[in-house]
């Protein structure tokens, strides 16, 4: 297992190099001059030249790149222009909010999508199957920010069940002490059920929005791969040996059908991390997505660059995790590695 992990880690390196090069190129080569932004509207050519020199922008590109990589190695993502705070600390403090939201969204989606997909495959042609098909086609057509607003309208304005979409906690609740950064865990760990309730009621709508968004690909894939597995020889053998339906479907078919579903998760994560930005904007969620959007609108480039890099590294790490999961589910992958 460790050897497999090592081998897989080595293949990640070129990808990471590519990611770093692209985030570097995004700022340096393309039009748009950071020095002009820094100098502000009252800049003279002389002051711009000075700033360019102090930022090291007058150096040749390879040297600038070396400096960028060196900064990255020291965990330095530069400073935000508008707030003056280091981007790295800002992103680390906001990351748990985004992670909590995305993870709960994914869990909600899996809890609905897996049973739905399995049932649709087992009872092919039934109403569940048709529901599944509608969900899969309609789900990919729903703009995620639109779903979010609809949910807010129905559950906040019409029914009054959920609190106003104004972030992780309403104004009256206090944040739990920081242990993991996930409000749900932290409040439970400190036994503060009042805060847990408040945090959960704020979290459920945005998480549901993300969940609905990723429902479609997971349902579709689960159904398709269950259908393929159920038609295979070993399932027929299992049935012929007199195993009951439950064992055949859950123990034999499901485990094998999981492989393509896990592969799809990679694509789902790509969508989820992007959709996260839009959902954070709708629900005023104080995560890294809304941080990047604010910075983007002010042409504040360092936070955006840091955000793109963080997201890409996260995504690469998630894909690595998925590969590992693959080995856990399918022993054959482990042996080959």
């Amino acid at each position: 297992m460790l050897a497999t992990l090592g081998k897989r880690l080595v293949t990640v390196i070129p990808t990471l190099i590519g990611v770093v090069i692209v985030t570097f190129l995004l700022t340096r080569v393309l039009p748009g001059d950071p020095a002009v932004y820094f100098a502000g509207p009252a800049a003279t050519p002389q002051s711009i030249a000075d700033i360019r020199k102090s930022l090291g922008l007058d150096r040749p590109l390879p040297e600038q790149f070396a400096r960028y990589v060196n900064d990255l190695a020291h965990g330095n993502l530069g400073n935000s222009l508008s707030t003056g705070r280091p981007v790295a600390t800002e992103i680390t403090s906001r990351l748990p909010a985004s992670a909590e939201l995305t993870l709960l969204g994914l869990i909600l989606s899996l809890v609905i999508a897996l049973p739905l997909g399995i049932l649709a495959a087992v009872k092919q042609g039934s109403w569940i199957d048709h529901t599944c098909r509608v969900v899969a086609t309609a789900g990919v057509s729903l703009p995620v920010f639109f779903t979010g607003l609809l949910l807010v309208y129905v559950f906040y304005f019409q029914l009054g069940w959920s609190p106003a979409p104004i972030g992780r906690l309403d104004a009256f609740a206090t944040a739990p002490p920081q242990i993991t950064g996930f409000y749900l865990f932290d409040s439970l760990l400190t036994g503060n059920f009042e805060t847990f309730r408040a945090a959960f009621s704020q979290l459920i709508l945005p998480a549901l929005t993300l969940g609905i968004f990723s429902l479609a690909p997971i349902t579709r894939m689960t159904r398709a791969s269950m259908l393929a597995v159920l038609a295979s020889d070993f399932v027929r053998t299992a049935r012929a040996s007199g195993l009951d339906n439950r064992t055949v479907i859950l123990t034999y078919a499901f485990r094998n059908a999981m492989l393509p579903v896990v592969t799809t998760l990679g694509m789902v994560f790509s969508f989820l991390l992007g959709a996260n930005v839009l959902v954070e904007k709708v629900f005023a969620w104080p995560g890294i997505g809304s941080y990047a959007v604010e910075a983007l609108l002010q042409s504040d480039f360092a936070p955006v660059q840091g955000f793109v890099l963080t997201m890409a590294v996260l995504y690469v790490a998630l894909n690595l995790l998925i590969d590992m999961l693959y080995g856990v589910i399918d022993p054959r992958v482990r042996l080959e590695g």
Partner: protein, 298 residues
Amino acid sequence: MTETTLNASAATALKPARNSIFSHAKYVIAENPVTGMAFALFALIALAALIGPYIVPHDPLASGTAASLKPPSFAHWFGTDQLGRDIFSRVVVATRLDFIIALASVALVFVAGGFAGIAAGFFGGWTDRIVGRISDTIMAFPLFVLAMGIVAALGNTVTNIVIATAIINFPLYVRVARAEANVRRDAGFVQAARLSGNGDFRILLIHILPNIMPIMMVQISLTMGYAILNAAGLSFIGLGVKPPTPEWGIMVAEGAANIISGEWWMALFPGAALMIAVFCFNLLGDGLRDLVDPQRRT
């Protein structure tokens, strides 16, 4: 606009089988009425994009404080926004801009990704490795996040939204074109063309490209929906399209603030238009795939 390109390319690619392809199309549509519906919807959207600005009942930019934030009524079918602008007119007029953004980005990536993919599949070797490495690097990013970064770097304009949308779709086109070209690399007709003294580029353009055109058309209609969603998402967070220009994503963003006070119509109608357009292109893509590639029919 697309209809003519569609027909033209279908005609060039499938000339000998023209009669059979039409009867086959009729058969597929008859078998799957949803595809027929998607074609009808597409015609409606194309119509709105073409003549929408000339037939709407109100000026999409005309504001009037007397009629601000009115719910849907007979005079204003979709209601009015906080400046008293007619939402119905704005939704219809916005069709053209959204359609053009999606179409332009898809056309761009079709040319760039298509050629890079064909070249990679046909030549193999270094070309393949370089194109593959570029694709992989793009795929290493969450795509919407990369699009945000590109727009931020290039500058906050509609043109750059088009470019960013094209770039994030690049790997999809490369993959399809590369696979299709690779299969045909040593096909009999290619060898015959080479023996008759055709150069590599001539073979690529005259012999291979027309053959993979149908499958690329499917890819186009499958990614159109995604391109619309992506562009609307970017303008929802405030990139590209500037107010007061009517565009679906920015209209939903403008209506977002009013959702919590109950004025649902400002966000609902442009959002629904967006959803229907994307739904239509997805169905159309599935339908076209059934036509072109019956083996993958679901």
